[in-house]
């Protein structure tokens, strides 16, 4: 074994424990010139190398009670009485008189006077036997304890042990127990110390001087680190995990050749509902489901007549329409968009020339009470393809491609229903971890009742999904609110995957 394996601190501690057996941590720190934590850390490392031995001892010690403290200052009651005799130059007093002076002390004061044979009682009088008694062992012990605050049992001389019991009984001192570590050297340690330990300064932190003179140092000069020391975690700031997921989806759309579109949060009922052929008495439009505002806005003049006609009579595409009267006033009412489709349809109306490949990922608002799986606002994703000759089977292929890129290997389709698409389809993806198919989003071809009044002449394939659904699956969330009212520790600890 070579002493080179030891750090400077370890060497210092080793030297300290070579001088004395069973050193407590405070003393070890003092002798080795290290801080307590550093000294003990080295002591433990030495113990691992079987050079030191750390033992835990249970020791009893004594401290003054508050009563004891008082007497330490004023003297024990029996002493106070004796001093009173002395002060008044008398050797006897009536007990009744003493009672008035010493109150409650008097009883045990007198009993200890008798026990110590400093005085005797005769006919209601206390008569002093010794004019000025010497300090007893008990009084000396209290004084010492008052000075040192604490005395360990092992340090109490055999002669004093009886005194300790008496004082404890008198409730003047109290016994405590503590666990105490001490460090001792082992035979192996002694052997090593006997061989001689040289303490050469090791390099801790590199300095420009050391770097410049690197040739003067050999590998052993650098203090090695314990590579297994537990790491204190540091956390770097980062993009929100949900935002990263959204960015992944944006990337997929961009890779697939879609253009990103954005639009207003506040929409007219016209764009949010009417342009999508939602009948004006549809329950989804009511106050229970949609956030309405008290404001209205102008309608896009060029579409009002055709949309009205479509709702009332089915326009010129051979549809029946919804019948009844379509009201401009209702269409003018403003709402918080209930879906990003309001943005998509407006974009298509403004860009009717094929081909259009567009997507939108943004907030939508529904009048829902907050609970773990519902929030009144949430991110929605939507993609559309408008072109000559595209059909439902193309939509199924786009969906398959999209979900594959999102990491869902298996996709299947079931008929669905959405008010503004025909045919409509509900894609399902297989979630390995759940062992089942999960419905994820919706899709379809925009109804002619939707596209025709807006001058869109070619089929529009569309699909959408709630991004938070994916977030729950991907981020393993149990409560959607965590996305919006994030625990910063969750953000700190969530991995960048």
């Amino acid at each position: 074994m070579s002493e080179l394996n030891l750090t400077i601190n370890e060497k210092r501690v080793l030297q300290a424990i070579a001088k004395k057996d069973k050193i407590p941590p405070e003393e070890l720190a003092q002798t080795s010139g290290l801080k307590i934590e550093a000294a003990m850390q080295s002591a433990f490392l030495l113990a691992e190398k079987k050079l030191s031995k750390i033992s835990e001892e249970i020791s009893d010690y004594y401290e003054l009670t508050s009563e004891g403290e008082k007497y330490a200052k004023e003297g024990l009651p029996e002493r106070q009485i004796m001093e009173y005799f002395e002060k008044n130059s008398k050797n006897e007093f009536d007990i009744s008189l003493l009672k008035k002076i010493f109150y409650e002390y008097i009883e045990f004061g007198v009993s200890w006077l008798l026990k110590k044979r400093w005085a005797k009682i005769e006919k209601g009088k206390i008569i002093s036997l010794i004019p000025k008694p010497n300090k007893g062992e008990d009084e000396k012990f209290i004084e010492e304890l008052n000075k040192n605050k604490r005395i360990y049992w092992i340090n109490v001389s055999d002669r004093d042990r009886g005194v300790v019991y008496t004082l404890e009984k008198r409730n003047l001192i109290e016994k405590f127990t503590e666990k105490k570590r001490t460090v001792s050297i082992t035979d192996r340690g002694i052997e090593l110390v006997n061989k001689g330990i040289t303490i050469k300064k090791e390099i801790a932190q590199l300095t420009p001087t050391i770097i410049k003179n690197w040739k003067n140092y050999s590998p052993g000069d650098y203090r090695p680190y314990n590579i297994h020391t537990p790491v204190k975690p540091v956390y770097g700031a980062k993009i929100h995990p949900y935002q990263r997921l959204i960015n992944d989806m944006r990337r997929i759309f961009l890779d697939m050749g879609f253009t990103e579109i954005k639009g207003d949060i506040v929409q007219s009922s016209f764009w949010n509902f009417d342009a999508l052929f939602q009948p004006q008495d549809h329950p989804a439009r009511e106050m229970q489901d949609t956030f309405h505002l008290d404001t209205t806005c102008d309608l896009p003049g060029q579409y009002v007549a055709t949309v009205k006609n479509m709702h009332e009579t089915g326009g010129d595409i051979g549809s029946t329409g919804w019948g009844g009267i379509w009201s401009e006033e209702v269409a003018r009412k403003q709402v918080l968009r209930t879906h990003t489709t309001a943005v998509t349809i407006k974009y298509l109306a403004e860009n009717p020339d094929p081909p259009v490949k567009a997507f939108c990922i943004d907030r939508a608002y529904r009048r829902e009470a907050i609970d773990p799986t519902h929030t009144p606002e949430f991110e929605q994703l939507e993609g559309v393809v408008m072109d000559r000759g595209v059909s439902f089977k193309n939509l199924l292929a786009l969906l398959t491609e999209f979900y594959h890129r999102m990491g869902f290997e298996e996709v299947r389709f079931r008929p669905g229903y959405f008010p503004y698409t025909e045919p409509s389809v509900e894609p399902e993806v297989y979630i390995e971890s759940m062992g089942r198919w999960v419905e994820l989003g919706g899709a379809g071809v925009f109804r002619k009742e939707v596209t025709s009044p807006l001058g869109i002449k070619y089929p529009v394939l569309a699909w959408g999904l709630g991004v938070s659904r994916v977030a729950m699956l991907r981020l393993g969330l149990k409560d959607l609110r965590e996305l919006y009212q994030s625990d910063i520790d969750w953000l700190r600890k969530s991995p960048v995957l």
Binding site: A237, K238, N247, R250, L254, G257, T259, E260, K262, D264, I265, V266, D281, P283, M287, F291, L293, C297, G314, I317, G318, S319, T320, L336, P354, V356, K357, R363, Y365, R367, I370, P376, E377, V385, G389, S391, K393, N394, A397, L398, E401, R414, P415, G416, Y417, P419, E422, P423, V425, E426, V445, R447, E449, Y484, Q485, S486, D487, I488, D489, L491
Partner: protein
């Protein structure tokens, strides 16, 4: 959406097929299975198919879809002598009424339940919560035709269903559970709809409640069905109910209302061409194949000229357009059998500039040690203004019927949301630094804001100033700061951020330097340079125009500083908080 409970016994009896086949195949017909139980299955059907809201309707569809039967289902309607007279007075209240009689129905408690469930689901899906349509089913043996549909005074009394004593119609609206629930439909009227029989006995108080008299029981065999409402949809509803009962063996008889007979079970007609199917679905099918698939979906279909004539069952309310037929053809063909094929459409994807801007801001802020957060944009005036010690500005986007007091407006600033998140995290380790590049609304218009806050015992003005400076530098924006007057911040530890905007008023000669020094422009040169005179010490400096901000060009884009202790306390926190918020436009 309505969830229909289908009893296996009922289902197997009516369809003649075993339940496992049905459970396996039925989702491909268009529905979501909610629960599979020992004796029944709960299925959610779509809101456009009220004809599937009964076990009878489902078996009719399933028998076609699974190939047991094909084509249009025919129902016989026998004329009856029963008449309903409709009073003119009712036209302003609830103008539409249709009615039919179904005889020889054998009820069990289960089939009565199924009928009630159908009624309730239809009230939801077609009826707009009974407002647009309401359905009444009555034991015909208890009443005597002809019937009258009238507008009656609210004081009129009768014994409503589930009650023993007579109540006035206005009492019913106040006290009867159904009355309380649906009183809103009649709130604007001073007379209420009522159907009476020949002896003035009450049949129904639509759309609220039937009379106790005509309660349907297991002894009932002959039914009077009346449907009242606000438009023609009453007819489809009647067709759905009577054909469902006919599937159970009932015999349909017509009722004459003001000379007009109901129900009208004549199928609708639509022309269809195979090329339309190919265009929409991408499937090449022959006319014969199309006819067979339509048959599976219970349509009648025959070749007619160069196309196909389709007969649409009178109970289907969802066929508005040929595409609705084509979807059914696709469903009959099987969505699982359609071969997906990517479209040839080629286009180049472009990210939206706002997204790119947000991405860039996120990069900057994360680099500065700030965590990205995504709070709700719904907020409250309390959070936005009261807790922030700020006055309410104009242009707040208020929500008409908020669902909670935390969400009464859409936010116009981000800082309150960020402070709220700090507040949620007040027991977490500090320092905490968070930001959001997100949208706010001002005058109903979206605006992009960047906001950031930090909390820790040493947080101070200088720290946040450095962050603001870093953001502006990274985005290459020249900015000036002025003393801030924002009461959310500590006075004297708050600064407002200005950039050079378009001149808004008369040209000023007062010139500000980024250092805060103020001078006067004394001369302008053609090469975009100016001479600015400063006093104390007196000097004239020749500067490029971009280096000086004239008073009239000042455009405020944000604020930063140390948050006021009252605001910090309002959010339940105990340590210094600093923050900034910037409005971002294309120039940022």
């Amino acid at each position: 959406m309505p969830v229909i409970s289908l009893d296996y016994k009922d289902l197997e009896e009516l369809s003649g097929m075993d339940k496992n086949t049905i459970i396996e195949r039925i989702p491909m017909m268009g529905c979501d299975i909610e629960r599979i139980e020992d004796d029944h299955i709960d299925i959610e059907f779509f809101p456009n198919r009220p004809d599937l809201y009964s076990v009878e309707g489902v078996t009719r569809a399933v028998r076609g879809f699974l190939g047991k039967e094909s084509g249009l289902r025919q129902y016989k309607v026998t004329p009856s002598e029963i008449e309903i007279t409709k009073d003119e007075g009712i036209d302003k209240i609830r103008p539409y009424i249709v009615s039919a009689v179904v005889r020889n129905v054998r009820f069990t408690s289960r089939s009565i339940e199924s009928l009630m469930a159908l009624q309730e689901s239809m009230h939801w899906a077609l009826g707009r919560n009974r407002k647009k349509i309401s359905i009444g089913v009555h034991d015909l043996s208890k009443i005597t035709p002809p019937f009258r549909y009238i507008a009656q005074d609210p004081g009129f009394k009768f014994v409503p269903l589930d009650f023993k004593e007579p109540m006035s119609m206005s009492e019913i609206l106040e006290k009867h559970p159904k009355g309380v629930k649906f009183a809103f439909i009649l709130e604007d009227f001073d007379k209420y709809p009522l159907i009476l029989d020949a002896n003035d006995k009450v049949v129904s108080f639509p759309p609220i409640i039937n009379g106790e008299l005509t309660r349907v029981t297991e002894e009932t065999t002959d039914l009077l069905i009346e449907i009242t409402g606000l438009d023609h949809a009453v007819s489809t509803a009647l067709n759905i109910v009577v054909t469902a009962l006919a599937e159970r063996g009932g015999k349909i008889e017509s009722v004459t209302i003001n000379g007009k007979q109901a129900p009208d079970l004549e199928p609708g007609r639509m022309k269809l061409n195979s090329s339309e199917v190919e265009e929409l679905i991408g499937l090449t099918l022959t006319d014969e194949e199309i006819i067979s698939y339509l048959g599976k979906m219970r349509f009648g279909a025959v070749k007619s000229g160069d196309g196909i004539e389709v007969l649409i069952p009178s109970y289907r309310s969802d066929i508005l357009h040929t595409w609705d037929l084509i979807e059914d053809i696709g469903i009959a063909y099987g969505y699982d059998k359609i071969k997906p094929e990517l479209p040839a459409t080629s286009a180049i994807g472009t990210a939206h500039p706002v997204s790119e801007l947000r991405d860039s801001l996120r990069e900057i802020m994360v680099g500065l040690g700030y965590y990205d957060v995504m709070p709700f944009t719904l907020s409250s005036e309390r959070l936005q203004f009261e807790l922030m010690r700020r006055d309410k500005p104009d242009g707040i986007t208020r929500i008409l019927y908020p669902i909670s007091e935390d969400h009464t407006i859409v936010r116009s600033t981000i800082l309150p949301n960020l402070l709220e998140i700090l507040s949620i995290n007040r027991h977490r380790e500090q320092p905490q630094r968070i930001f959001e590049a997100g949208e706010v609304l001002v005058d109903c218009q979206n605006r992009l804001h960047l906001g950031a806050v930090a909390i820790h015992p040493q947080a101070n003005f200088t720290e946040i100033q450095s962050v603001v400076d870093a953001v502006m530098r990274e985005r290459g924006i020249k900015y000036w700061v002025f003393k801030g007057k924002d009461s959310a911040f500590i006075e004297g530890r708050c600064a407002e951020i200005f950039i050079k905007g378009k001149s808004t008023s008369q040209k000023s000669h007062v010139a500000h330097l980024p250092s805060g020094e103020i001078g006067v422009i004394v001369k302008e040169y053609d090469d975009n340079y100016v001479d600015v005179r400063f006093s104390n010490p007196h000097r004239i400096i020749h500067l490029h125009k971009d280096e000086v901000l004239r008073d009239d060009e000042k455009y405020k884009i944000g604020v930063f500083g140390e948050i006021h202790p009252e605001v910090i306390s309002n959010f339940g926190m105990e340590h210094p908080v600093i923050g900034f918020e910037l409005e971002l436009k294309e120039y940022l």
